[in-house]
Structures are given as C-alpha cells and as structure tokens.
Amino acid sequence: MIEGITILPGLDKAGSKERFEKLTLIAGETVSIVGPTGSGKTALISDIELLAQGDTSTKRRILINGEVPAEEVRYNPALKPIAMITQNTKCFTDLSTEEFLHIHAKARKIVDKKIILDTIELANKFTGEKINKETRVTVLSGGQTRSLLIADAILIGAAPVILLDEIENAGIFKQEVIDIIQSTSKIIIFVTHDPVIALLTKKRIIMENGAVKKVLCQNEFETKAAENLLELDKRVGFIREELRAGNEITKELISVSFA
C-alpha cells in the first residue's frame, strides 16, 4: 500500500540545494508540475520513476511511506509502484500490440489474459484512430502510442502512482484520460503546460532552474476558473475535430461553439 511518496531536496542547475525541506504527495492526490522548458519538470518525474536515492543528476531522494524503498522495489518491474508515460510517441519494439502487452503483463506478473484486450479497448477510448491487436507498435501514430501507453499504465502497470509527461501534446482525448484517472485513489502527477490540467490538480509544483521553486494548493477561485476553461477547451476541441475531419468552419458552427 502506498499512502504517500516524499521528495527530499536535491540540487538546482547551479548546484545549490533546493529550498524545501520535504514534499509529500498522498494517495488520491492530483499534482501538476509546471514551469518553462528546461526548468527541470521531466527530471523531477524521472527521479520519482527511478525512485532516486541521490544517484541521479539532481541528487534528489524519494521515499515511499516515509521510508527508503527496498532495492528490489527499485529494480523489479513487477514490484514497481510507479508507471510513467513519457513524452515519447514512438515505440521501437518490433511486436504486435497484443504481443507487446502480453510481455508487459508477464513482466508485471499478471496472469489474466483478458487484460490485453481490455487495455486495447481502453486505449481506443483515448484516441480517434482505432488500434487493432494485430497492429505492430512500431507503426502506431503518436496519438495511438500515447493512448496505448496510458491505458497500459492504468491497467497493466496498475501502479498506485502514475506520472504523465505532457499528455496534452499527443492528439488524444485528454478529458477522457483525466476523467478515468481522477476516479481512482492513485497519486497522479502531470507535467504540463496546459492551463486546464494545471488548474484541475489539487497541488501545483512550480519549477525553475532545475529546482522546485514553490508549491501551491488549488483554491476555490482557481477551481471555478478551471471549470470555465474546461468549457472553452471543449469548444476548441470540437472545432479541432471538425478541422481534422476535413470540414469547413461555418458561421453557424462558430456561433454554436462560442455562443
């Protein structure tokens, strides 16, 4: 059981110690990590994913339930409590989607074969372009790859901690992803440039120059703002899908969307 993960400070890009004592994220909490490109967002979630013990470039340390995780937890995928979706939108493994998920399920010591088709079905909720079980993962589009890896993280990774690196960039239905993920008691960490995702999370970690600069908690006003933005986002999304489908944007369409 993971009740919380704790981040202990490391060094910023100039080599100075980060100015927080410790940062604990608890089960059921959604967290976003924001900051300019190169500010250290991806490095922070990589530290969490690797359960760093002062042995990454940032020198941070990560505790699980307040304790240093056992070696075995760090190195055995079957025991690893963390699933991460990176910014990669390409798979290099020359296997069909079914074979790929099969081997991953084996690595995670899952015996129920049903999970493979369930994962593909879930992935297809996140993407407009359907993935077949025979499709080789090397030819999946960026959006399909992301969708598959997110579904894989939720069902096969089945980890209590999920790290998502800029999911907004991949042409997937992010609202569906957020809805499914938020209904769990997992710790979900989004690295994001998306204002909707940033405002919908309970905690917001702000990065600068490789270090955690500050941590903000969601307030009532921001929750309202997020709801408005979400509405706007859906309308933009509607126009986007029309454009992607090759349709023309008419006056009527605009008045429906932005009335």
Binding site: S46, E49, L50, A52, Q53, G54, D55, T56, S57, E71, R74, Y75, P77, A83, M84, I85, T86, N88, C91, F92, T93, D94, L95, F100, I103, H104, K106, A107, R108, T145, L149, D152, A153, I156, G157
Partner: protein, 236 residues
C-alpha cells in the same frame, strides 16, 4: 586487484558506462583500462586524457576478437598488476556473438541499449546468459512499458542476472553497480578461466581457406540440412 569485464555490441554505451565507473572510483582506487577492438578504438586516449588513468588498447586485426582477448588477457592482467592497479576494467567489442569474454572471477557486465531490437537479448547468446550484471542504457529514449518489455526478454534469457537501467551519459541509478564493484573480491591471477566454452577448434576456415561450401573444407563441416556431430557444442 578487482576485475571488471564489460561487453556489449557497438554503440550500446559501454564507454559511457565505463566513464561513470571510473569517475566514481578514480579517487579511491587505482584504475587501469584495456580496450580490445578490431579495427579502430579511441577509448584509451579518451579515458587517459579525461581521468589520467592507465590505459592500453589492442587491435585483434585478422584474429577473432574474442580469441585475441583470451590471448592477451593474461599479459594484460600482469601489466595492470605491475602498475599496482586496484581495479582493472576490460572493455571488449562483442561482435560475432558466439562467445563471451567473462571470466570465472571478477564481474562480467553486459551493456544493452534500450533501442536495440526486442530479440537482441536472445541473439546475443552467451554475452547475456553468462553475464553477472546486465545494464540497460539510453532509458530516457523509450517508454517505461517498453523498458519493462526489454527487461522481461533479458530475464527470459538469464533469469538470475542482476539487472539495472541507466542513462549512462548522466550515470543515473548506478549505486547498485558501484556497490557490487566495491564488494567484488580481488582476483587470483593464476586461476583465471573463461566462463563460456570457446568455439570448436581449428578448421580450414580458421586457417584462411576462402572457398564456399562444405565440400571444399575438412575438419568440422556443417551442411545446410542435416545434423552436425553429436559431440559438438551448440551454445549455452
């Protein structure tokens, strides 16, 4: 003197890993380094310039590189000991994948790139199955799920290998490797043996006969179809 034999295909990240190991140990151990390659290698110059350690290289040229490794390793261990090295690192270019350069003492490390194909661990044969430690590199370039799939494939080939993943350019997550090196025992140089079986003895191909087809050769011959002799070794 501790001995570390590092093997793996070209561009897997052997030298990047070696650099991280040297960086970690150079202040507490006297490090010596030998590179075995076929045509060209620059690691000896690079490493001695960067870390001021003792380095050597040997080109196998027309000789099989693993064969050359076996031949020169005795002298190389003498050389490293004569220089009072505490840690001797041997980096070998794994090429034909028939053999592995690991010895019965010290640590054998196979380096595999996470960008390598999914069947690479099986294809690499003894280089994976006889290693003590497998280090998967370039993990920042692929998804976590894909990394786990590759690791599962390595475990299928060698269930007891100690696995670790790293971004060797940054040297992430290598504490465990450093611990294993620190705790590895000194070698007894008069009792060093190859872990794997060497290939079958000399035949007409080994001595340079170029004709194609088994009819032109004697010694150990193998047809396209049909069994080879029962007593012949068929890999690990």
């Amino acid at each position: 003197m501790k001995l570390l034999v590092i093997a793996g295909p070209p561009s897997a990240g052997k030298t990047s890993l070696t650099k991280q190991i040297i960086k970690r140990f150079k202040d507490e151990l006297r490090v010596a380094f030998l590179k075995i390659d076929v045509v060209k290698a620059y690691e000896d110059i690079e490493l001695s310039r960067e870390f001021q350690i003792m380095t050597r290289k040997i080109y196998s040229g027309d000789l099989c590189p693993d064969h050359a490794g076996v031949m020169v390793l005795g002298d190389a261990v003498e050389w490293a000991e004569s220089k009072a090295a505490d840690l001797f690192i041997v980096e070998s270019a794994g090429l034909c994948l028939r053999c592995s350069p690991y010895l019965n003492q010290g640590l054998g490390v196979v380096v595999l790139s996470s960008m390598a194909g999914i069947h690479t661990p099986e294809k690499m044969g003894a280089m994976v199955s006889l290693a003590d430690i497998a280090v998967v590199t370039k993990i920042d370039l692929i998804s976590q799920a894909e990394r786990e799939v590759l690791i599962q494939k390595i475990k299928d080939v060698h269930p007891n290998v100690i696995l670790m993943e790293t971004n060797a350019l940054q040297g992430t997550s290598l504490h465990r490797l450093y611990e294993l090196i620190s705790h590895s025992e000194d070698i007894d140089k008069d009792n060093l043996y190859l872990k794997g079986n060497p290939p079958i003895g000399t035949c007409t191909i080994c001595v340079g006969k170029k004709e194609i087809g088994w009819k032109h050769h004697f010694g150990v011959v193998k047809k396209l179809d049909g069994q080879i002799a029962e007593y012949l070794y068929r890999g690990e």
